[in-house]
């Protein structure tokens, strides 16, 4: 398969050679289809409704290449990313699995391994689920990720298995102008319970591209807590799509925190496919300088008695630009849906900018839906209250900004991450509010 040299792949990835075939025909076909789609799709621009607020021009200016091998790293290099509560860790360096930096303890009812191994060893499960929850046909970045699918994370949790310790997946970027295509597939069988942490970090300051796809399937009564930390460096480009299917009486809870990247775009698409499905979606973007953080979510209530609660917060300092687009669909059959969505946004400077667009589309008649959006500065009455108790204006501002962010951070069910993120928030709100 050759790349057609007339599209944005050409600009982004010149000289990339196609991958060697895998032992599985279905996977070779999937990659081939995705490559065709990637070649056929036009370049997203701000003229596309889905990209109205996010100009990808800076991304197209740089050429990014996949690393053909991983930079050798030792445990010391990544010690600061350690999550003590985690029972398992899979580490990827520039897209390559690093077995010596990973902990894959065997556990009854859990299959946790690199996707490259799973596509042969767990052929049927992988084939049944891979590329089923993120549709690449209208999404050039997901198509490229799928075309370049080589390795990733495979998690299968058996029926009624409860995993008490979280799974930590660490994606490390070490190269300027490098591109990586992280891929995660989590299949949670009926009644199972687990926590997945996806963590995107860097060990250097030059620009790189992360183009990630995550797929999660929750069978009936499964519970998944999904934590996503995007702390790429300030020059990075981070594009990601996460597709989730929530079965009958299953419960999906997502907390997504975006701190890094010059430009980030995260799509989270949740399909409540079974009766009584529930989800909680929390997001925080804390950015400054010239950063842009764009979050698009789609909660699709397809069956009756579903519940969803969403809170998305953006804090923009400097000349940063935050975007939130939150769609909620309530289908004709999704009677008695109870859904709430809040978008709360804080501007720390006059040059910062936030676009928020909640969209509610209801086709059922017996539903309860509440949504709202606010964009503003810190509350003047709260500021005065704190200052009347002796707090300086700066301290009052920092404390209120911290509190605004902490509401989301504290929902992460991993104490060490909460503590570390709160330290980061304190540091960032301090440097950010002191800037003019």
């Amino acid at each position: 398969m050759e790349l057609v040299k007339s599209n944005y792949l050409d600009g982004l990835l010149p000289g990339e050679t196609s991958l060697p075939p895998t032992p599985r025909d279905w996977l070779n076909r999937l990659r081939g289809d995705a490559l065709d789609v990637a070649n056929a799709l036009p370049l997203p621009t701000t003229r596309d409704e889905e990209w109205r607020f996010t100009d990808l021009a800076p991304l197209y200016k740089t050429t990014f290449r996949r690393a053909d091998h991983a930079t050798p790293l030792s445990a010391v290099d990544i010690a600061r990313f350690d999550v003590p509560e985690a029972g398992y860790r899979l580490t990827f360096v520039d897209g390559h699995f690093a077995p010596h930096l990973s902990v894959l303890d065997a556990s009854a009812g859990l299959i946790l391994k690199p996707l490259a191994a799973a596509v042969t060893e767990q052929d049927l499960i992988a084939q049944e689920h891979l590329s089923r929850y993120v549709d690449f046909h209208g999404d050039a970045f997901a198509a490229v990720n799928t075309a370049w699918l080589q390795d990733g994370v495979f998690v299968h949790i058996g029926r009624d298995v409860v995993l008490s310790a979280p799974i930590h997946v660490l994606f490390i970027s070490t190269r300027g102008e490098g591109a990586s295509y992280p891929r995660v597939l989590l299949v949670a069988d009926r009644g199972s319970d687990c926590t997945l942490i996806e963590d995107f970090v860097s060990l250097q300051d030059a620009a790189y591209l992360v183009n990630a796809v995550t797929e999660i399937s929750l069978a009936d009564r499964a519970r998944v807590r999904h934590i996503r930390l995007q702390r790429d460096n300030a020059n990075a480009f981070h594009i990601a799509t996460c597709g989730v299917k929530v079965g009958r009486d299953a419960h999906y809870a997502s907390t997504s925190v975006a701190l890094g990247a010059r430009l980030s775009r995260v799509n989270l698409n949740v399909l409540q496919a079974g009766t009584g499905a529930q989800c909680e979606i929390d997001g925080l973007a804390l950015i400054s300088g010239r950063q842009l953080a764009d979050t698009h979510t789609l909660l699709d209530h397809a069956q009756p008695d579903g519940r969803s609660r969403q809170m998305h917060k953006c804090i923009a300092g400097g000349a940063a630009h935050a975007v939130f687009n939150g769609k909620i669909f309530v289908r004709k059959d999704a009677q008695r849906t109870d859904s709430s969505q809040q978008s709360r946004n804080l501007l720390l400077t006059e040059r910062a900018h936030i676009d928020t667009k909640p969209q509610l589309e209801i086709f059922a008649d017996d539903v309860k839906c509440a949504h709202g959006a606010t964009v503003g500065q810190l509350d003047a009455e709260q500021m005065f209250y704190l200052m009347s108790r002796g707090f300086s204006e700066t301290t009052a501002r920092e404390l209120l900004t911290f509190a605004f962010a902490a509401e989301i951070v504290e929902r992460i069910p991993v104490p060490s991450l909460v503590q570390r993120l709160e330290e980061t928030v304190v540091r960032q709100t301090q440097t950010r509010t002191s800037q003019p």
């Binding site: 003047a380 009455e381 709260q382 005065f384 209250y385 704190l386 200052m387 009347s388 108790r389 002796g390 707090f391 300086s392 204006e393 301290t395 404390l399 209120l400 911290f402 509190a403 605004f404 902490a406 509401e407």
Partner: protein, 258 residues
């Protein structure tokens, strides 16, 4: 009583959103004194309290205020708090996400630290605050909640007096400290305030009703109307106002002026 002068307000005028609310207030408060400021709704009582604390929505247009002999308006609101001025809010503000314990400790360390007292770490503060909680019959569980968030009206008012207890102001201005309190909560709040009184500090009670003054007995009662203090008397004036309302005071004032 002849304590030293803590507050001296001279011909103070102030506006909110361009409208003049205070039209020439004169008031002197000495150490050891309790002053009640009473008056009908919209007379300017709360405005005076907020102007003294430095609320940014209120603009001082003329007049002087000396706090312990220095120009109060030279101080930003946090500096006024550190200098010993305290405003108990009529409607205490909720601050979600900030724990009451962290808030109280930071306030203590900021204000008491500025006076040269040792700052307290969380454990030390936890010891220190227990007596103050008892003073207001507050459950220590209050400390773990966000500042005023989801508190009942009475809980919010007690939390205000708790702050007064730890900040030890020279002058506390309590704006409608009794509004929204049932009789038991009123007794607790008033009892707490009385225990915090000394010959070195002073109190201004801004109140619409006489009820609070049964519990915290004032030395002076001032009636404010249309931005001016139109009558000053002793504690018996409050009882007269309770019986006869405010209209007769205004008529008497207009007759005198005419």
């Amino acid at each position: 009583m002849t304590g030293k002068t803590i507050l001296e307000v001279k011909k103070l005028t102030a506006t909110v959103a361009g409208v003049e609310i205070l039209k020439g207030i004169d008031l002197t408060v000495r150490a050891g004194e309790v002053h009640a400021i009473m008056g009908p709704n919209g007379s300017g009582k709360s405005t005076l309290a907020k102007v003294l604390a430095g609320h940014p929505a209120y603009v001082v247009t003329s007049g002087d205020v000396l706090f312990e002999g220095s120009n109060l308006f030279d101080l930003a609101p946090p500096e006024r708090a550190r200098a010993g001025l305290f405003l108990g809010f009529q409607y205490p503000i909720e601050v979600p996400g900030v724990s009451n314990s962290a808030f109280l400790r930071l306030a203590y360390n900021t204000v008491q630290g500025a006076r040269g007292n040792d700052e307290l770490d969380p454990l030390e503060f936890d010891d220190y605050i227990q007596d103050k909680l008892k003073l207001l019959e507050m459950d220590p569980a209050f400390l773990e909640r966000s500042v005023n968030e989801g508190f009942s009206g009475g809980e919010k008012k007690r939390n205000e007096i708790l702050q007064m207890a730890i900040l030890e102001p020279k002058l506390a201005i309590l704006d409608e400290a009794d509004s929204g309190l049932d009789i038991d909560a009123l007794r607790i709040v008033a009892g707490g305030v009385n225990k915090l009184r000394s010959e070195n500090n002073a109190l201004i009670l801004v109140t619409h009703y006489q009820r609070l003054l049964n519990y915290i007995v004032p030395d002076f009662v001032h009636v404010i109307e249309a931005g001016r203090i139109i009558k000053t008397g002793g504690k018996e004036l409050a009882l007269q106002l309770e019986d006869r309302g405010y209209d007769w005071v205004a008529e008497e004032y207009r007759a005198k002026a005419a």
